[in-house]
Amino acid sequence: MIDLDGVSFWYHGQPEPVLFDITLSIGESELVLLAGQTGAGKSTLLGTINGLVPHFTGGHLEGSVSVAGVSTRSGPPREFAHLVGMVGQDPLAGFVTDTVEEELAYGMEQLGVAPPVMRRRVEETLDLLGIAELRRRALRTLSGGQQQRVAIGSVLTMHPRVLVLDEPTSALDPTAAEDVLATLARLVHDLGTTVVLAEHRMERVIPFADRMLYVPGDGSVRDGTPAEVLRETPVAPPIVELGRLAGWDPLPMTVRDARKQAGPLRSRLPEKPDHTSAVVGEPLLSSSGVVVRYGQTVAVRGVDLDLRAREILAIMGRNGSGKSSLLWALQGSGPRQGGTVQVDGADPKALPSARARKLVGLVPQTASDLLYLETVADECAAADLEAGAEPGSCEALLARLAPGIAADRHPRDLSEGQRLALVLAVQLSAAPRVMLLDEPTRGLDYTAKASLARIVTSLAAEGRAVTIATHDVEFVATVAQRVIVMAEGEIVSDGPTAEVLTGSPAFATQVAKILGGGWLTVSEVAAALPRVLR
């Protein structure tokens, strides 16, 4: 279906090719997972499939890419619309119309499909994706998962032979991600569509994938079944790492497979993992009865929460459960209609924003909103000035958080992880003792997440209270001591990480699902194992 023959690609002005001499062929009705670190060339490889690379991005392409026998050289991406459906990372940015039904029909209108056929296909697609009840809704009012499904639907109506998705679940909560992935699996099974998808959080996709392409970043591609490819990749989902640790062969790809092999390992482990968490200090921020409402909608419904020194608190819950609103309210910049927040004897909302940020720092969901200068050095200098800190303190922080970022780089050219580190450094230069992070793991690959975990841990070790709102269970299991789960603006569970994460299947990590007994992460297991052997 898709044939790449000796494909190499250079972006303008860059000597090193992003892709180098890649030859592969993807057959019909395969679900292919494309993995690799940020910037390794995943999106570029995806773009070559419908000609966006190089027709839209510019750059130099050698070799040939053909889809269903048609070479992408022969025309611009629009001439491939009926063959290749492309779904981007942010579905909202790709929407042309504003209601679900019209969005689904848009592509067909461009192809000149006859109206009766269009009508029929729209109905079929609505049913296929389970969004029939949303047909007249405005796209902007949909939740992330719904938007992503509409985006998939909007290319499906053109009956493409190939569906290409770039990180379709990165912004979604676990349940919504499951929905989208299940939908994709159904397409492969029912319609025989070939699906190529790039994803950082492989653990979600691997159970569905027939085949895996790994882009290590040197221009090459490793190709094979997920089990083959994952044997030697530097980063892998927890299930694979556990398999490697335990020496399982073949590597398990699903929780079910892993469980079958887990018996011996389980017997070698102690009864209970050692959850001796760091000694938690005094409360730095105490709040009670916090209420946030937007008109009629109540976002936060009377939440009482204390943030303690040296504690990393994770806030979980589906999209729209009030996590962000709570963080903004605690920081004092967001709206708060009721309740009290006390930091250091003061209410940050009552203080001017320059003073409030010295008490509580917040890294917002779109961290880049805080950046507006041309170079990293400028940003740091401005941050020192704004925070009234010693000149160079932001730079020092940044060097500690993410070493090796050139000072003359443009903040927008940094990778997601580096940009996050920069914003964190900017916010930390005001030296707040309470640090709030809103969805920092979004769009980070395993490596970036690991370094974020390191950063967060060191912040807490220095005596700060750190709070992270996130969907990422594995990340929470790695860093957090305490987890609260929010739903409809209320805290529905609150407790030590192990308790909360093992308590419900929705929030269980892969390791917990495989081993049970309170085990959460591979590193815990790894730490426990030698002791047993000894």
Partner: protein
């Protein structure tokens, strides 16, 4: 005739509503009689309330009413402030403010006569009614569907407008978000320009990112798959359209300006329209696009359009029978008089409130 399906809820063709509203507006433009204007207003308001949906543009009708009230107020105030002494019934004596010589001819305050205030009121009422009629069209006709109903030669323009319309709320959203984020970084410190830049740069960068992503998305979804057109055909279409439009312009000018030779009026206008239509057709013929749920012009649309056109025709017809009452004299103060024909004509505009299907209810409006 499909009597049973006639009243099934559906959205009418936006063009029908526009014709109706323009008919009312043209009717209003023919008169300054407050009775007629008020009746037109009441008719428009009732039809809007009876047949609008819950869409945001429909709910914006209230804004047009406020605008109308503002127009009337301003017209009257202007009459009072500048030269309100037209006529002899002085109702208010204000001290006149002497102005320097260079402002000769402008009069500030002074005596205010009932005639000039009434003149301002009638005039303002007429303008307000016309504005509110257009507001009614806006409330009843989905603007996006109107764009969709445009000839396919204008498809690209329509798409651009639709995209622009969805960009603005996004831009506003970004500004709010970035300004909030700005507070996180210490807020209002620094110079003004600095602060402005701190908002503008992230917003623009965001908008640029978005538009690139939108362009990529549109490209990969087949936007602009027009097929190849021969240069000759393109030349012919372009010439036809330009010649046609020039003809329309000349024709309209000649029709409106009485002193231009008559052969430049109707004949040129007509042939201009024909040529332009041929141009549109040939331009549209090359476009291989189709429309999802194309708007259909059915009986109900005809009823709506006819009712609006009926109002305009009635007002034109009565102006040859009863011109005195369409523009009540202000020389001698009296109640404006009214005859039956224009009143009946205006009430014709009420037909769509009863003889059209209800709009389709929006299924789920509650935001997620």
């Amino acid at each position: 005739m499909a009597g049973a399906t006639y009243f099934l809820p559906r959205d009418l063709h936006p063009g029908a509503w526009w014709l109706w509203a323009l008919g009312l507006a043209v009717g209003a433009s023919r008169t300054t009689n407050p009775w007629l204007l008020l009746t037109i207003l009441a008719v428009a308001c009732y039809v809007v309330v009876a047949r609008r949906t819950d869409a945001p543009w429909a709910m914006a009708f209230r804004m047009y009413l406020y605008l109308g009230a503002l127009i009337v107020t301003f017209r009257v105030l202007f009459r009072i402030i500048f030269g309100g002494a037209e006529g002899s019934t002085i109702i208010l004596r204000l001290p006149e403010i002497p102005l320097p010589a260079w402002a000769a001819g402008i009069r500030l305050l002074g005596d205010v006569s009932a005639e000039s205030v009434l003149g301002g009121l009638y005039d303002g009422l007429r303008l307000a009614t016309m504005v509110i009629c257009l507001g009614a069209a806006n409330a009843l006709a989905n603007p996006k569907r109107l764009l969709k109903a445009m000839p396919s030669a204008l498809y690209e323009v329509g798409t651009a407008v639709i995209v622009a319309m969805s960009v603005f709320p996004q831009l506003a959203e970004s500004v709010v978000r970035v300004r909030q984020a700005r507070k996180l970084r210490g807020g209002h410190g620094g110079k003004r320009f600095h602060a402005l830049r701190a908002v503008v740069i992230p917003v623009l960068a965001d908008a640029l990112d978005r538009s690139l992503r939108l362009a990529a998305s549109m490209d990969s979804r087949g936007y602009g798959r027009a097929g190849v057109v021969a240069a000759r055909t393109r030349l012919v279409t372009g010439t036809l359209m330009i010649v046609g439009l020039i003809g329309v312009c000349v024709g309209v000018y000649a029709t409106l300006d009485g002193s231009t030779p008559r052969y430049l009026a109707a004949p040129v206008l007509f042939s201009g329209v024909v040529v332009a239509l041929i141009g549109f057709r040939t331009a549209g013929a090359r476009v291989k696009r189709s429309r999802y749920r194309p708007e259909r012009w059915q009986l109900a649309e005809v009823v709506v359009a006819a009712s609006g056109i009926g109002v305009a025709v009635a007002m034109f017809a009565t102006s040859s029978v009863d011109p005195t009452n369409l523009n009540p004299s202000l020389v001698t103060l009296s109640w404006p008089m009214l005859s039956w024909l224009p009143l009946g004509g205006v009430l014709l505009g009420l037909v769509p409130a009863f003889l059209t299907p209800l709009p389709q209810p929006e299924l789920e409006r509650v935001p997620a």
